[in-house]
Symmetry: D2
Subunit: 168 residues, 4 copies
DNA sequence: TTTT
DNA sequence: TTTT
């Protein structure tokens, strides 16, 4: 279906140190639990109330997984941009069950640390090596030129070069 | 600054057929004008009112430019995801002027056609070849199911080369 | 927790005519199923492939429910902005089950029709009466120009009453 | 135009203490300068590079202005959700000039503090009194019930009450 | 300059 | 169960 968008944006805190698993062929997958919450004052009692929502975030991306592994700890505040995905599985009784997760996998998925812990700063799944919308990974060799778009693991440049002289 | 986000999401109609320019080294740049509008009923008179906002969108990405060139015409309804950028220029009197544009260049930038015209359907700046948030590039493997996540390798160029001098 | 964000943005098609239920005290709740999908060309076979994701959207808002009731039909293309919520329930075996839904309830929730069917055009949960991000409620004054900002007064109910017991 | 969206999401730091002006009839308007930036490592030199983008944010909303006035200081990290607006003005030579700003005014506009300074936590422009997606203002009396949607300055409840018994 |  |  052309013309569809599936985007989740979360800012919240990580509930526990992330789990990093590996697939059989060695690729990492990180699982995070992120809490968002809303607070308000009760209309009648005047008491402060809060509701917390927990989100399961699954990171299928080597670069982002590295950032998660190195920098994301319990309590970290993150900005997450991913997609909603519901997967079907079977419980021990053989019944169909569904789990909905926020998946960071494709283009446009991003994970940024908002509390300054770690040096990673941010990362997106664009390059497979922790390149970021905001902060290219330290192991980021070079943005891919337009003319060589698909080097394995290539990243990209995200903004015009300030030092270029670009009259327009 | 780690931990920053600069994102613009627009759904609107294209005001005129796009202009496609080329840099000296041949890379395309597309310019679009997109209208968004709000309507409301006047509180006093009860009349229906409307306010239209016009946005300048600049596409620095070969893949997205191809989509624009082939499919985007005056009147098309688009979903756009880009970044805010303000550039400084000088008018004929030599005075500093500033123009703010929605730039589709970096990671996470997307352009999707919402009215079914053209076959392009959608595209994002991830792959430099019209690959899409919704339409993976030709050399891009399948999206990973939850149980077999995508290889990290798929990168791509996202835009202009940081090191180039690009007069246009 | 101050400083959290929980936002889902979807553009997709409605899979079936919406169901509208009512709470005991008469407030409507609309349920929608919305499909988003991604297409790509298989890296090896070159075949076009597609993956569709289905989302359950729950509208707790009188104004938005009216729009849904009047205008949203099977096949409609919608822009949805809401929140992720997971609720716990018990199956017939008494086991805990969880369902994650995109809830349109609070501030910032929006539903806009993208295919021009119906006159409703758009709506947000801001005003409780089908007012919109793009379409101010009837008792809502004009959007303020930059030089004459809007009165602060315009509020509204955004959803279900916190203090109510709402079985449904 | 039905079906349009105009949304800007920024996470960045405030460049200077905000300016709060007042209209002739006493309503506040806050002006903020917010920096977002991207960093990357230069492909050739390997040097770390950074590009900062400055955004002008204008808050037309009493509740949000109060939050800005009380809590937002130079250096604060904010999450902002607003709209792009370009306004026309004339310079001293009588020439037309245009300025594009991120305006927080209508439903869906939000401002949330991300660095924990201040108690305000967050605020959105929904209620005119600093109600928030995440953190209702302290002077927030009560969420508006669905049955009285438009009390002056009324806000809303943003989530289901945790303590309600809501089987569904 | 779009669209409804 | 949608859509292209």
């Amino acid at each position: 279906m052309a013309g569809s968008v599936n985007k989740v944006i979360l800012i919240g805190n990580v509930g526990a140190d992330p789990e990093i698993r590996r697939t059989q062929d060695g690729r990492p997958i990180a699982n995070l639990r992120i809490a968002t919450s809303e607070t308000w004052r009760d209309r009648n009692s005047g008491e402060r109330r809060e509701k917390t929502e927990w989100h399961t975030v699954v990171v299928f991306n080597e670069g982002l997984c590295k950032v998660v592994e190195q920098y994301v700890k319990k309590g970290a505040k993150l900005y997450i941009e991913g997609q909603l995905q519901t997967r079907k599985w079977q419980d021990q009784q053989g019944q169909d069950r569904y789990s909905t997760e926020v998946v960071l996998q494709g283009f446009g998925s991003t994970l940024t640390m908002l509390d300054g812990r770690g040096e990673g700063g941010g990362a997106s799944s664009g390059g497979g090596r922790g390149s970021s919308n905001n902060d290219y990974g330290d192991d980021y060799g070079a943005p891919a030129p337009s003319s060589s778009p698909s080097r394995g693991g290539g990243g990209g440049n995200f903004s015009r070069d300030l030092d270029d002289d670009i009259p327009f």
